[in-house]
Amino acid sequence: MLPVATDQIMQAQATMTHALELKAISKSFDGKEALRKASFNVRWGEVHALLGENGAGKSTIMNVATGIYSPDEGSVHINEQPVAVRSPGDAIRHGIGMVHQHYRLVKRFSVAENIVLACGDIQNLTSTSAAASAVAEKAAEVGFDVSAHAIVGQLSIAEQQRVEILKVLLLGASIIILDEPTAVLTDQESRAILAFCRRMAEAGHAVVLITHKLREVLEFSDRVTVMRHGETVLDGADTSGLDVDILSRHMIGEPSLAMDELNASLGDPCLTVSNLVVPSPNGTIGVEGISVSVREGEILGIAGVGGNGQQQLADALMGLTACENGSIRLGENDITNDNVTRRRQAGLRAVPADRFASGLIADMTIAENLAMTRLADGEFGGYFTLSRRTMRKEAEDAISDHDIRGAAPTRQTRLLSGGNAQKLLLARELSGSTRLLVAHSPTRGLDIKACNTVHSLIRKFVESGAACLLISEDLEEILTLSTRVAVISRGKVVGEFPKQEATPEKIGALMMGHA
């Protein structure tokens, strides 16, 4: 059964009718309302941005549209006809395809094999050779440079995303939903994918762009729907009459805050990295001779396109990876050969890029996560004993001090939202005698409000006389937060500026390797 025939699309497109409409959708999980009579619609031939904070219900409502969740109330309409979308398979048959934030690809398979896996039965692409030629044809059509025989695990994130998009297109989707497609991309890659969205819309597709980047909304979308706390607060407004202030007011109910100057005086050198070389596994870029220093009262921003050695630099600083050459000094101490515990005792702390992979343990309680670093220092009991009561009591204090919502000492950390989990992580890392914080993409995936909280925590920390090395792929974050900016490219520092000279153009050019 193919309910949407091509001529129907053409007809519908011609009249700018609604491709997909979700009416008065309600959905609860375990009694907690995630969506409350939320609505959304996208027309043929437009890019429609779906904007909202984390937990506003953007992903939930799109998961209803793609059949992953079934709504408690409300209806789904395609081409102004009510339909039942009970499974992702149904969604595909109705022409709805979603590019998820976490790609659903088998990394060991080639591109063509992934296409066979996803589209085999539906599109009769049951051999890799058939899939390969379909991939080549579709890639040429939409202007992607993708080799059908490449192994997915060896492709960059941006290339994997293109594979995921091709998959959705080959499945026959004409309504394309992209869940935060630029979250993990560089500026240049982001622009490319957003331009692609525009082209798809001009070719007649309906494109839904889930995002929380205001610039993408204003620059690349025709209309915008804003969600807050599971409700639709702005329903399909034309972007032409909107600006950043109006959008952020709708999103968080308050205008975005401008940052004041950092109120800190420069002190002694805190971190001195000289000629650091860190090898990297399987041929990716490692650290290939970096020398930087950070003084007390300073935030050094390391800007760069993802995958240029940032991860290895962060890991080497924390002691998770061995250095091949060079030295790391914290104040007067050489910590190059120290283990994680000793580095932490010397006052080094870290916010890793993926908070649940290497910072917090999702399946342990909040009190246990808060105690983790200090436990290694021998707190909360002797060598053998453990005072869980003290752990709980101190966790209660930390939760109220840092306003961590939805938290209780004995609650599982997994249940926290992204922003609150990050607050928990910072509460732990910034406690005690911390001298240097290595923050790697500290606001990745967070909404504006949580972002502001994280930024002001880091600023307050540095104003108290400590130092921060901020590694971020988000240029806006680097420029708002840093007092000095260095640019990393292919494992080397290719430029360093004081804040006043650091313009997006200069840094951007260095990041892309044009200088």
Binding site: S70, A350, A357, I361, M364, A376, L386
Partner: protein
């Protein structure tokens, strides 16, 4: 046209309440027992006598209870051993190998009369612990140093040591007065004495003592906290400065040591010599017990006792109903599977979706 259809979807629960957890455990056991019941009835056991054999004769009869307790002693130790390693996601599938190592070591001490008689027994049990730990030290070294898969390595090493057992029993350690491949009987000083209740021996106190020790270690101590953290997320544990490698090494050596002690207790408490059959099936039971007990030492003791009961009932079935020895393993498997299924449904709930679609 009105298209009315129902669909079934699985929805993951955000959190699982303690009541639901308990319900799924009880439900899993219930379903497992029910299927067991059907299997036994279909193989010719009278329905009425199943209850008698399994419950009355085992748990409400002093003689049966003593037998179940005797069987449970090494099972407690093997279960504790499995739990210690599996809590850290180190899959010690070769528990049987470490049981053999312990049995060999204990027998060796007895065979060569090592140490004064007054402490011979302690030397035997200590040797059993060390041998079990030494046998698992090899896979843990290869795992940590070269990333060799511990599942395959521990499993295969169990076959290696079984060859050693056969070599000893058909060669230097064979009892000259027996025509079977068994070692000579131990002297009295080399035996765990009985406590005066059936065949129950002092190994009971050893097992319960280690149960208590492991409870303190895994549930109350700083070490247990580290073990939990390493089990859930070794990368985060390392990043926060917890001693990951030390925790893994200690837990895994403990695992092997406890399994080795099980071997020592079987030889010195029940068999009084080394035979070809004494460690048979301990791997599977240890893993089942640890899993059913959710790697919690106090529960391991309780579950080992119940599994011991199943063994005793299985012996009766074997003798009086002519069922094969595999019946015990079958019952364990059925109960484990039904618990797993129920656990799955405690994590997800089923939604029946009714959608009216006017088309």
């Amino acid at each position: 046209m009105l298209d009315m259809s129902t669909g079934i979807t699985l929805v993951r629960r955000q959190s699982i309440s303690g009541r639901l957890r308990a319900l799924s455990f009880v439900g899993g056991l219930g379903t497992g027992f029910f299927i067991t019941f059907l299997v036994l009835v279909s193989s010719g056991v009278e329905p009425a006598s199943i209850l008698n054999e399994f419950v009355v004769q085992v748990f409400f009869d002093l003689h049966g209870l003593a037998q179940a307790t005797t069987t449970a002693i090494p099972l407690i130790l093997a279960g504790l051993g499995a739990a210690a390693a599996m809590k850290l996601r180190f899959w010690n599938i070769g528990i049987e190998g470490q049981v053999w190592a312990g049995a060999i070591a204990a027998t060796g001490v007895a065979f060569y009369d090592i140490g004064p008689e007054s402490i011979r027994l302690y030397v035997m049990l200590l040797a059993a612990i060390l041998a079990g730990a030494a046998w698992i030290a090899i896979p843990v070294f290869f795992k940590l140093r070269y990333g060799v898969n511990e599942i395959i390595m521990t499993l295969l090493m169990a076959y290696v040591i079984f060859q050693l057992v056969q070599h000893l029993l058909f060669g230097p350690w064979q009892d000259p007065s027996a025509s079977f491949p068994v070692s000579p009987h131990f002297d009295d000083a080399e035996r765990l004495s009985r406590i005066g209740w059936g065949a129950v021996h002092n190994g009971l106190w050893v097992a319960l003592g280690f149960g208590a020790l492991m409870w303190v270690l895994l549930e109350r101590s700083k070490f247990g906290y580290c073990a939990t953290a390493v089990g859930h997320n070794p990368l985060a544990a390392k990043g926060t400065g917890l001693p990951v490698i030390t925790t893994i090494v200690i837990s895994v050596l403990l695992s092997g040591g406890l399994a080795g002690l099980a071997g020592g207790v079987i030889t010195s408490g029940a068999e009084y010599r080394l035979t070809q059959f004494l460690a048979h099936g301990y791997t599977f039971s240890g893993i089942v017990i640890a899993f059913l007990a959710r790697f919690r030492p106090a529960l391991v003791v309780v579950v080992a006792f119940l599994v011991g009961g199943v063994y005793v009932a299985g012996d009766t079935l074997k003798v009086f109903y002519g069922l094969s020895e595999a019946i015990v393993i079958l019952i364990e498997g059925i109960i484990l599977l039904s618990l797993l299924v129920w656990e799955f449904f405690s994590r997800y709930h089923i939604e029946f979706v009714k959608q009216r679609v006017p088309a």
